[in-house]
């Protein structure tokens, strides 16, 4: 009883320390917003001829009858620039004020809207499709960051997510193709992830090996193994890589909502699963006895041990569960997205997921925000490539990685990970 009662209080305690932000950094954010406003005012605003419009399609072509939204680019960007600048000023003037991250996020969102208008000037952009694709691409990042959170909240760094993704993607594709059953594919993806989670736990917990190193070697192992098996097993027999995928499942009624319906409520099961998992892990970590114990083990294992928590078994359990989650996220790459497995198809998103977790300060809903941002930047490149905005496509492909660096170095500031994250535990 008392354990449960303590949990929220504990959260309050960690909240202020979770993000250590200097006044200079907040002011820097204010300056950044003003700079964005200048860009919106100049190139995106006055730089565009007054009569040029951008058209946003607000429904999947045949279905819902929301009329396309056609806006004059200049006369949208200029007022938005003023709003953005207005948001930046309080950050500079009152860096200690509340809601500064809200102000900043709002400013960035306004900039993105203006950017989209500029990119689509004189053309069409299917806004609903873009939103839907952003959510789809954020799905593996959600699974990955949840996996990282499970492990790191209990004090084990799981940098092997990329490898667990690959293993889950491979086995998911192979088993679902072999059995013609997609759910078996999900299950086997989870098993693949669990195996490598267990390997990480075994080497890190039993032998106290360096967790980051073991993680990196697991990635190398999974990369080599899946490449080898793709050549040796999948290539000769196309039936083992048949490219089955889950089709989108529209949630009844909700998918009829204009704009939001086709974008949010017409995804496949992976996305809904990720959202449910997010809520479960949030409640689990911060409102239950299990979560308090896991966090205690991640913060101060010795103290946890003295009150009778078995540190190693908590860690084993969490790391293997983290592997399961990452394995399911890996299955998204094949049976949740493109179908066929191909070598190195995860393209570093396992690491991006870790960055999302750090950006979200080891909290599920923080990671959600970060995953949506990255998902958006991944989907943006494919849409911008079609629009021919004059930015070479390699630079568009760089965007998620550049944003990741900006996020881990600039925006988050010095985050405070669980105190015993990555530290091997021994009783003596």
């Amino acid at each position: 009883m008392s354990v449960v009662a303590l949990a929220p209080e504990n959260e309050e305690l960690t909240a202020p320390e979770g993000r250590i932000v200097s006044v200079a950094r907040v002011r820097g954010m204010g300056v950044f917003l003003v700079l964005l406003a200048v860009v919106m005012f100049g190139p995106f605003g006055l730089g565009v001829a007054a009569h040029v419009h951008a058209t946003f399609l607000l429904g999947a072509p045949p279905a819902t009858g929301v009329a396309p939204l056609s806006l004059p680019v200049r006369w949208v960007s200029v007022p938005l620039a003023l709003v953005c600048a207005a948001l930046g000023c309080p950050l500079w003037a009152r860096p200690h004020g509340r809601g500064r991250f809200l102000l900043f996020s709002l400013g960035v969102l306004i900039f993105l809207w203006s950017f989209l208008g500029w990119a689509a000037r004189g053309g069409e952009l299917n806004f609903v499709d873009m939103l839907a694709e952003s959510l789809a691409y954020s799905t593996p990042l959600l699974f990955g960051s949840m996996s990282g959170m499970m492990c790191e909240r209990s004090g084990v760094v799981n940098i092997a997510i990329e490898g667990q993704f690959l293993a889950g993607a491979f086995l998911g594709a192979m088993i679902s193709s072999a059995t013609n059953n997609l759910w078996l594919g999900v299950f086997s993806g989870a098993v693949a992830g669990a195996i490598f989670g267990a390997l990480l736990a075994f080497l890190a917990l039993r032998y106290g090996a360096d967790q980051i190193i073991v993680g990196v070697v697991i990635v190398a192992f999974c990369t080599g193994l899946t490449n080898f098996l793709t050549e040796q097993v999948l290539s000769p027999d196309q039936n083992l890589n048949a490219g089955l995928t889950f089709s989108p499942f529209g949630i009844p009624l909700l998918d009829k909502i204009p704009v939001l319906g086709p974008a949010v409520f017409d995804q496949n099961y992976f996305f809904y699963g990720a959202i449910v998992l997010l809520v479960v892990i949030h409640v689990g970590l911060f409102k239950t006895r299990w979560g308090l114990r896991a966090r205690a083990v991640g913060e101060h294992p010795r103290a946890a041990e003295t009150v009778g928590i078995h540190v190693l078994s908590v860690r084993y359990r969490n790391v293997i569960m983290g592997g399961v989650i990452a394995g399911i996220g890996g299955a998204w790459f094949t049976i949740g997205n493109v179908g066929e497995f191909s070598a190195d198809m995860t393209a570093g998103l396992g690491y991006v997921a870790l960055a999302a977790m750090i950006f979200g300060r080891w909290r599920p809903f923080g990671a959600l925000g970060a995953a949506l941002l990255f998902g958006f930047s991944v989907s943006l490149q494919s849409f911008l490539a079609v629009l021919n905005v004059g930015i070479p496509s390699p630079f568009l492909s760089m965007a998620p990685y550049v944003i990741t660096i900006a996020v881990v170095s600039g925006l988050v500031g010095r985050v405070r990970p669980p105190a015993s994250d990555g530290v091997p535990y021994s009783r003596e």
């Binding site: 090996a209 360096d210 190193i213 073991v214 190398a220 080898f228 660096i405 500031g413 091997p424």
Partner: protein, 436 residues
């Protein structure tokens, strides 16, 4: 055959010295005969034995993978009830062919030697595999030393790929951009490679020191950024080969190429000498110099370093920059040594293998040299294996990963093989959590 012959001999003396010291310190006990000590040494979990056993286990895992994925062996095993000998025979011959090719492609081929002896010619063919192994080892030595340098300061430089591309890019620009005699041009190319890598290493260094961004994330992201940057540059004016629609760069002229050491037939080049010199320099830096001492102290205990007046931030920036410079030289060594032009995705897995090589060499330049030779032999032989027996070369990355797993957790090897505790029983701890 003893383990000492097979595994890096450079690691032995400190381990071997212990029993002798004990024997000398306790006169009443007569010193054990040499063969006894050798036997005892082989039963210990020292570096050489652990590394040797790791290689054996790695090859064993590879053999199992071959057997369970090759149709011919699978077919033989499906009839194991009626012909058990046949199943075993097919398995052994398949694995034997594959590993035979692995050896012939990386060290020497016995049949080629026989041919050369009987006819008196064809010695180039005999030395080609070993030359190719040395060629593959060159970038690994450079990049592995760079990564090892980072580890010794508690910095995990996983951005080998990006730094390698940056180094190769800079070397290419200097290579085709200026026209000078080789005596000036080649050193400039080498320096450009180092400078390119140094810039790519400086970025995570300064970000870590100034903002606390963890170098693992930043360096991985930089890998992708440099990959796309290279893709972009390869399609634009100064770098792209004129008149080409493919993404390949201009070729560097002869004055920017590392000369071959043994004439035209063998590709082994001056890059190997440069790599060995750099490894020796890094060894000196870490063992003898004040800066190296600072790096090690800060790696082991940052607060102790600070108390002693060392600047941990400066050390972080410096070590990542130097580390990047060495990895950049690795990119330069392949560009100016064997490839002479860039293509998209340049560098292959060298940047990543540098990490495993550094782990295998236990962060010591000498160890890195031997580890690089081993891994280079595996990948060179792997290419030959793929072309002759059809087993995908990716098998060798699995073998390499297994080897590093075991080397990174010597306690596991000790338990599997019931070895006595010794030097290598210590846990490898290089990195710190996100906070460090």
């Amino acid at each position: 055959m003893t383990a000492a012959e097979v595994t890096p001999g450079g690691e032995l003396p400190p381990e071997e010295a212990k029993p002798e010291l004990q024997a000398a310190g306790a006169p009443p006990v007569p010193p054990a005969p040499a063969w006894r000590r050798a036997l005892r040494w082989m039963g210990e979990a020292n570096l050489a034995v652990v590394t040797f056993l790791a290689v054996v286990v790695g090859l064993l895992v590879g053999a199992i993978l071959i057997v369970v994925t090759t149709p011919a062996t699978l077919h033989a095993w499906s009839n194991v009830g009626s012909a058990p000998g046949h199943a075993l025979g097919v398995s052994f011959s398949t694995v034997g062919n594959a590993y035979g090719a692995l050896f012939a492609g990386s060290v020497f081929s016995p049949s080629a030697v026989g041919h050369a002896i009987s006819t008196g010619s064809g010695w180039t063919v005999v030395f080609t595999p070993i030359s190719e192994t040395l060629v593959s080892a060159t970038p690994l030595i450079l990049a592995g030393t760079g990564v090892a340098l980072g580890f010794s300061t508690g910095v995990f430089n996983i951005g080998g790929q990006g730094q390698l591309i940056a180094g190769a890019l800079a070397a290419t620009y200097v290579g085709f951009g200026v026209h000078l005699p080789i005596g000036i041009h080649l050193p400039l190319v080498i320096l450009a490679g180092a400078a390119g890598g140094a810039v790519a290493g400086f970025i995570p260094g300064i970000l870590k020191a100034r903002t606390g961004a963890h170098e693992v994330i930043v360096t991985i992201m930089l890998n992708y950024i440099f990959l796309y940057l290279l893709n972009y540059l390869l399609t634009t004016a100064p770098l792209q080969q004129p008149g080409q629609s493919n993404s390949i760069s201009r070729t560097v002229p002869g004055s920017a190429r590392l000369p071959q050491l043994f004439g035209n037939g063998l590709r082994v080049n001056l890059g190997l000498i440069v790599a060995l010199a750099v490894a020796a320099g890094a060894s000196w830096l870490m063992r003898k110099s004040t800066l190296g001492f600072e790096f090690k102290v800060i790696g082991a205990n940052p607060s102790a370093g600070r108390t002693a007046g060392m600047d941990a931030r400066r050390a972080t920036i410096l070590v990542l920059t130097i580390s990047g410079a060495l990895v950049g030289m690795a990119g330069m060594s392949t560009l100016a040594g064997t490839d002479f032009f860039l293509s998209s995705g340049y560098g292959g897995g060298n940047g990543f293998n540098a990490i495993t090589v550094a782990l295998l060499g236990r962060n010591r330049p000498v160890g890195v040299v031997f580890g690089s030779l081993l891994f280079a032999a595996l990948s060179t032989g792997g290419r030959y294996m793929q072309s002759t027996s059809g087993i995908p070369i990716d098998l060798t990355s699995v073998i390499q990963a297994v080897i590093v797993f075991l080397v990174a957790t010597p306690a596991l090897v000790r338990e599997i093989f019931r070895l006595r505790e010794a030097g290598a029983g210590k846990i490898l701890l290089f990195t710190k959590g996100w906070g460090g």
